[in-house]
Structures are given as C-alpha cells and as structure tokens.
C-alpha cells in the first residue's frame, strides 16, 4: 500500500533483461528505416535525386519532401504550438543532421546502402549558432516570419523595477551560461508505424502517447480515433521523449510500404542531432538591503532553441517563472527569449529549464551572501518563501517547505562530514548548498479506468508511461489503497490509446500527483459501486457502509463483511468498472507573467562537501545530501532512488557534459567523447531525504534534487578556494584557470 517499499512490479524482468523495451520490438513483415541527414548547418536544397536508391536490392520505399507534394502527406509541417518543422526538409535545411530523405528496406544494410545512393544538391547559406549573434541585423534569419530569430518573448512584470533598485544598498549583476547537452536516455528514440487503409498504429518510445496521437492525426488529417499509439516501457526519457519527435517520419515512410510496418531506431550519433537541452545565457541582477532583504530582481534569459520551435513556445514561459528562485522578492522583472539558431532543436531536459535557471540564481545567491557578509545558508533561510507568501506571479503559495528542505540537507551533510581534513596542502575542501522551486504544468488532465473482475483482481488502465522511474509500481500502490485491496491484486495496463484513457503526458513530475489523483477518484467511484451492490446483501443503506480490506461492511455491526468477489458473484457480474479523472487549470498572462503558473510547486535542495585539487583543478564530491518535498511518500525506496538518481544525473551537466559544436557539426556525438557520470563519479556518501507534510498531497519527485547539484558544487568550490565558476560544465580546466587568474591577482 502507500508508504511501503515494495519492489518495482517488473523488478525481476529488469534483472533478467526481459523488459519488452520498444528498441527490441519486432513485428511481422517489419521493415527497417534509415534517415538521410543534412551535412550542412544552413543550406538551400537545390535537388533531391532518389531514383538510384529505389533500385538498391531490398529497398521497399523512399520518402522525400516530393512525396508530401504528391499527397502521401497532406501537410509537411508539424510542431507543438508553432508548426515550423518539416517531417523532412523540402527547400532548406537548418541544422547539421536535419532529415532530408527516408528509406525503408528489408534489412538495415540495404537501407544504409540506399542512403549513399541519394544525391542531394545543396547551396550553403550563412549560419548562426550564438543567441546574441542571432539577434544581430547581419545574422541570417532561419524562418522568414522571424527576421531577428526571436520567436517567443515571455515577460514577467511585478512591481516598479526602478524604484526597487533605488531602495537597494547593494546591487549585484552576474551572467551564467549553460551549454547544449543531451538528455542521454540509454534507450534511443524508437518508433514503428503501420497503416491499414486510413488507420495508423504507432509503437513509440514516447512520454506523451496522447499528444503524439493528436499530432499525427493532425498531420495526416485523419480523426484521432484512427491513430493508435502503443507505448512499451521506455529505457529512460528525461524530457527527450516528452513530445512528438521521430514518429511523423516513420508514419510518413510507412505510408509507402503497402501496409508493412516500418521501424526506426536512432543511433547514438543521431540522438545528438534529434533533441538537446537548451543552452542558456542568463543575466541576473539583484538589489539587496544590508540586512539581506531583497528590494528587486531582474532576470534576462536567452534560450538557444535550435532550428525549430519544438517545445520552446511552452518551455520558455515556464522557464521564466522558474528563474527567480524561492525567495521573498517584492519587485521582479523577467524577460525570456526563445531564439532560433542553426543547431539541433532543443526541448525539455529533466528539471526542464530549472536545471539551467537554478544554476544561475543559486550561484548568484552565494555571491550576494558573500558581498553582504551573511552566511549563505542563513541568507537563504531569512528570505525564503513560506506558505501564504505571494510569489512574483501574484499567486499565493501553499504547502511549500523550502526551508525544511534546506534544513534537512544542511543537517544531512553535517552528519556525513567527519572532522578529518584533506590529506595534503594542495587539496582544499569546501561546502555548498542550493535550493530549487519548479512549476509543473498549469493546465493538464489525467484519466484512468479501473476494472474489477469477479476474482477481485483490479486492472488499472492508465496512459502513464513507465520509463524506469517506477510509475506503474506507484500507481499500483495508489490503486490498492483507493480500491481497498492488496497490491498483488492490481494489474497495470498501458499506455495504448485504444485501451487506456487520456493523460496529458508523463513529464514535469506530474504523474504521482495527477494520475494518483485520477486513480484515487476512480477508486472512490468503484467503492461507491461496491457499496451500492452490497447494500441489499447487508440490508443497509449504501451510505452507511464502508469498503476496505477487500470487502464491504457496516461499521455499526462489525461481524458481517461481504467480500468484493462475493458482491460481484451474488450480483451475477463478471466485472465492474469505474472511471477516474483529475484535472488542473491555470495559466499566466503572456505580457505580465501574472496568474496561476502551477497547481503546486516542486521543491528540492542539495548540500555537498567537495575537495578541489589546486594543482589540477579536479573537483571531487565527498558528501552529498539531497532533499525533495514529496507531500506523501508512496514508495520510500523508489522515492529515495529518484533523489539519488537525480543527484548522479546532475553531476553530468555540473562537471562533465557539453555538446561541442564545430561549424554546426556536433563533434562529440558519441558516449566516449561526451562524458556522462559513471559509478566512479558518485560521491562517497549520499543521503536522500524525503519531506512529507500534514496536507498529505502526493507530489512528484522526479526532478527536484537535480537542479541544485551544479550550484551547490559551484558554491562549495567558492567556499574551498574562493573562485566563482559561471559557466557549465565546471571542468578541471576552468577551475585551474580561475585559480591561476586569482593568484595572478
């Protein structure tokens, strides 16, 4: 039930390697797809000649933009809010790696051979990669509608900025950068598609089955009911699979295979040009009183969105409210820009936008503390937001526990640190802390269907995606409590849009909250039906009955209890079902950023002790304590693993990860040059803390301890050796360079 650490439902399969991941999917008569990609960052396509590719033995279909014009695809363009991205490029390519043509063949080898037979004539155009250069008049415009390459400008206006800064005793402005990086799910993007007349079935490794269905229906101009999206378990998503991505290509290609299914599995190199974490340039300016109270804050964010808008029209405004931090700031202005450049499209990355913004505002927080001569933890605590406070969006906060998160990590770190000192003079130790606040989706909806059979088994039909985070296990625990049966009576089915009801998406750490809410409401409905059916059997009014522990009884007469199975059997029912729904509604004004940005806030903190090798610049994390606010913990073991996993994941962007781009070409598009954390990088001691509250509302915890990692480490480095690193990742080279500059004075 809720609160117990049961193993993941598929833990044995995971150990045995028998989880049916999409990457392993095979279908009868299945064809293999390959993608011809642009070698140029920006070019006109003068011609695409595919006839030689068609003649390669084993090739079944070739798809290029010309096919769209011949009616295979009614429209060529798709996108979440802005339909600016072609399924394959037609007259222009905008980044190295952009799809230009597709092959379906009997074997991968034949598909690869056919790729070499396609001749594309390009005329190279000037390209731009930097967000500030993209705004200059001399820069090429990627899309004609946006001559300055800025396609979204989100604004937050709360109070009089000039007056706020005028009241300050101290004004500090700093700029922080975060590079483009990879979500790096172990399983790459995978999709398979099959057409039967005007019905499309897609097997997709996606976090968003229903949005993918809607987008495909729109693209092919068929009713959504004609599209079936089936989602096998994912080998990780981390936001990279959060939106429609490779599915349109596969579905378009499958239109030309006479009903045979086609499957596309991206290589790791293709992963690097399919979706990235936004690079960010963040300038943050704060006005402070001597006593450590804020008078004003101004934040300017330039998000490098790459060549197409993708999720940025939603993420840039979300990142705006995630850029201020959990502090009492009476006056706040934020400008957030989404900028096109000739790089692969960017989208959500675990802790979406908060991973970049927390890096900025929490590094900056320590600078303010040092300039004011106040302990960094104390400064945070004295200005931290509490329930009942007003945030810069105008919303009144409820159930927020940022201070508890901070206290928990500070205490947790103290417990880990022994009194021992570094082994040598050239090794310097320091401690750092950071806290984060992140909104979830303001408006979203989760639905589910529960079916109980006459043996008492309950099947939960849910479109929540299992991607290793343990969502299906948590949902089973919630369902067990909601219906009043033991967890081994619960079976989870889904996602399959022909079977499982609507859900907005498995992202933004929303499932534990939203889908749990839907299951709780469905469970309540099922119990109501069970009580009504038991009423004549127990000769009591249904309202006087209680359903729990697998049976219904009247509390006034404790002896008699009729089991659920018996209720169904005596009523001659094979099964009963119930539907559940949980929805939230909100939103902010695009001109002022005022409104309801989230139904509740995600909260997390981290503290660490690190050691800097002053001769090499290498940073070693000795101890790390991480806390997230869970409201009510469903499964303590899985929740702790989420906290720990986030910290280890966060070490990558903090210390190692950066996509290196040369003339538009990603030159470290493999996992030997692009480093992600290994077991050897994990801190010696790690503590995971889960914070619950009296309100007992279940909160998501999928991202909360990641964003604090980088600033906590940077703050610890400052504490150890007095240098402030302002660009991620914090490589040994950067630390050493900063130390040399400091010693040169």
């Amino acid at each position: 039930m809720i609160g117990t650490s049961i193993p993941m439902l598929d833990s044995v399969d995971r150990v045995k390697g028998s989880v049916p991941f999409a990457v392993n999917l095979t279908l009868p008569e299945m064809l293999y797809a390959k993608v011809l990609r642009s070698p140029y960052p920006h070019a006109h396509i003068l011609s695409v000649e595919t006839s030689a590719a068609v003649d390669v033995p084993g090739v079944v279909a070739v798809f290029s933009a010309a096919d769209a014009e011949q009616g295979v695809l009614p429209g060529l363009f798709y996108g979440l809010k802005m339909k600016d991205q072609p399924v394959v490029a037609r007259d222009r390519v905008r980044y190295v790696g952009e799809p230009v043509a597709l092959i379906a063949a009997e074997t991968l080898e034949a598909a690869e051979e056919a790729l070499n037979q396609i001749v594309v004539e390009y005329q190279e155009l000037p390209a731009v990669y930097d967000v500030l250069e993209a705004g200059e008049a001399s820069a090429p415009a990627l899309h004609d509608d946006y001559p300055d390459n800025c396609f979204v400008h989100a604004k937050l206006r709360h109070g009089d900025l000039e007056a706020g800064f005028a009241q300050a005793d101290l004004i500090v402005e700093e700029t922080f950068t975060s590079p483009i990086a990879q979500q790096t799910s172990l399983e790459p993007h995978v999709a398979a598609a099959q057409w039967q007349d005007d019905h499309l079935t897609v097997w997709a490794g996606t976090q968003a089955p229903y949005p993918v269905r809607a987008a495909l229906a729109e693209l092919f101009q068929i009713p959504p009911e004609n599209v079936r999206v089936i989602v096998p378990p994912l080998g990780g998503g981390y936001g990279g699979k959060g939106h429609i991505r490779i599915e349109p290509m596969v579905a378009a290609l499958a239109r030309k295979t006479n009903g045979r299914p086609v499957k596309l599995v991206l290589t790791r190199a293709e992963e690097f040009v399919t979706v990235t974490k936004h690079a960010a340039l963040i300038t943050i300016k704060s006005g402070m009183k001597r006593d450590g109270t804020f008078t004003a804050r101004q934040v300017t964010l330039h998000w490098n969105a790459g060549a197409y808008a993708d999720a940025s029209p939603m993420l840039v405004p979300a990142g705006m409210v995630r850029s201020l931090g959990p502090y009492r700031i009476p006056v706040a202005h934020v400008d957030a820009y989404g900028i096109y450049t000739n790089l692969p499209p960017a989208a959500a990355y675990r802790g979406a936008m908060s991973s970049q913004t927390t890096w900025a505002y929490e590094s900056h927080m320590d600078t303010l503390a040092h300039r004011l001569g106040i302990d960094p933890l104390e400064l945070r605590k004295q200005t931290i937001l509490h329930s009942g406070d007003e945030f810069a969006t105008g919303e009144i906060l409820h159930d927020v526990h940022f201070e508890e998160c901070l206290d928990a990590v500070a205490t947790g770190l103290k417990k880990q640190i022994s009194s021992e000192h570094a082994d040598a003079d050239y090794l310097k130790r320091g401690c750092g802390v950071a806290v984060m606040m992140k909104s979830t989706l303001a408006t979203s909806r989760s639905e589910c269907r529960l079916v109980m059979d006459d043996q008492g088994h309950v099947t939960v039909y849910t479109s929540t995606v299992e991607m290793g985070q343990g969502a299906h296990t948590a949902m089973a625990q919630v369902a067990a409590e909601a219906v009043g049966v033991s967890v081994d009576m619960i079976r989870i089915v889904g996602p399959d849009t022909d079977q499982t009801p609507f859900d907005s998406t498995t992202s933004a750490s929303r499932s534990s909250n939203m889908m749990s809410g839907a299951i709780a409401s469905g469970g309540g409905e099922m119990k109501r039906k069970l009580r009504a059916l038991a009423s004549p059997l127990l000769e009591h009014d249904a309202d006087d009955l209680v359903a729990e522990g697998g049976g219904v009884y009247a509390p006034s007469e404790s002896a008699e209890r009729v089991m659920y199975t018996e209720i169904l059997q005596k009523n001659g029912l094979e099964s009963i079902d119930a539907e559940g729904m949980f929805a939230t509604k909100g939103g902010i004004d695009p001109e002022t950023g005022q409104g309801l940005s989230t139904p509740h806030w995600h909260q997390g903190a981290g503290a660490c002790e690190i050691e800097v090798d002053t001769e090499t610049g290498k940073v070693t994390i000795l101890h790390y304590a991480a806390a997230s606010f869970a409201g009510r913990v469903i499964n303590p073991r899985l929740a702790e693993l989420q906290n720990d996993g986030n910290v280890v994941f966060g070490l990558g962007p903090a210390l190692l990860e950066e996509m290196i781009v040369d003339h538009g070409q990603v030159v470290n598009a493999n996992l030997s040059d692009y480093m992600i954390p290994s077991f050897l990088d994990i801190p010696l001691d790690m503590e995971s803390i889960l914070i619950e509250s009296g309100e007992r509302e279940i909160h998501g915890i999928g991202e909360m301890t990641l964003p604090p990692v980088a600033p906590a480490i940077a703050n610890a480095i400052y504490d150890a050796v007095g240098v402030r690193i302002t660009s991620l990742p914090i490589t040994a080279e950067k630390v050493l360079r900063a130390l040399m500059e400091k010693s040169e004075g």
Partner: protein, 149 residues
C-alpha cells in the same frame, strides 16, 4: 575546428618557398594524395586517402590558392567529399614562413569544417590524425630539400 601548429625545416627560406610553390612536388609529400591535376590558374584537383580511426576514407577534392605573399604567406581553400563515409570537408589553410638562421619555420593554421559521419568520431581522433600527417609531410619536405642542396 582550428588546427594550429608549426614545424621547423632544416633548409633556408628561399628553398622552402620554392618547394611550396611547386604544387606537384608538395602533393608528392602529402601522405595519401594522388592524381593531382591543375584545372585552373590557382586551382588543383585530386584524390586524398586517409585512415581516420577505424574508417578508411577517400576524398575527391579541390584546392584553390587564394593568397600568395612571396616568401611569406600562403592561403588555400580546400574542399573535399568522401562518398563512402558521407563526409564533407571545407578548410582554409594559412601558412606563414619565418626564417631562423638558415632554417625555416612554417607556422600554419587550418580552420576545418568537417561534416558528416567522420566528424562524429570526435575532435581528438581527427586532430591526432592531422598531427601525424603533418609530421610525415614535414619529414618528407625536409628530406627532399636536403637531398637537393
């Protein structure tokens, strides 16, 4: 990717300049180069074979000399394409000669735009290959010049 290096040849500047101005001679010292033909006043085409990491490539390419300052500087645009590895290369080579008491130092800079499958192997592999080739070229150059002296 910017490749920047220099090497010193045990020969006087005049001899080095004369050698560098003779494209077929230079080509004979470039490891893997073959079939060099002049197709324009300052334009040459040919084939260039090189192994980069595990991949064997064969580039069909063109070199255009865009600037020559007698005994001092040489600038060339290099364009090439290898169909098998679906790789396109575009590079600007700038070479500067410095006289050092009877020896000559060649400082060079190559701004390379490498695109396609080969580029995915990472800068380290490409740089290591470039370094190796330059070393071989320098050795060949010196050997030829010292023979002729």
């Amino acid at each position: 990717m910017l490749l920047k290096d220099s090497f010193t040849i045990n020969a006087p500047l005049d001899a080095v300049w004369a050698f560098l101005s003779d494209v077929p001679q230079v080509a004979a010292c470039v490891p893997g180069a073959s079939g060099i033909q002049q197709i324009g006043e300052e334009v040459y085409q040919g084939k260039f074979e090189v192994r980069v990491g595990p991949i064997g490539t064969s580039f069909d390419g063109k070199v255009t000399f865009t600037e020559r300052i007698e005994r001092e500087k040489l600038v060339a645009l290099i364009e090439g394409q290898d169909k098998n590895s679906a790789t396109i290369v575009g590079a600007t080579f700038t070479g500067m000669l410095v006289s050092l008491e009877g020896k000559t130092r060649l400082d060079y800079e190559v701004d390379v735009a490498l695109r396609g499958r080969l580029a995915q192997f990472g800068v380290a592999v490409v740089k290591a290959t470039a370094k190796k080739l330059t070393g071989q070229f320098a050795k060949c150059l010196e050997a030829k010049l010292t023979q002729s002296v």
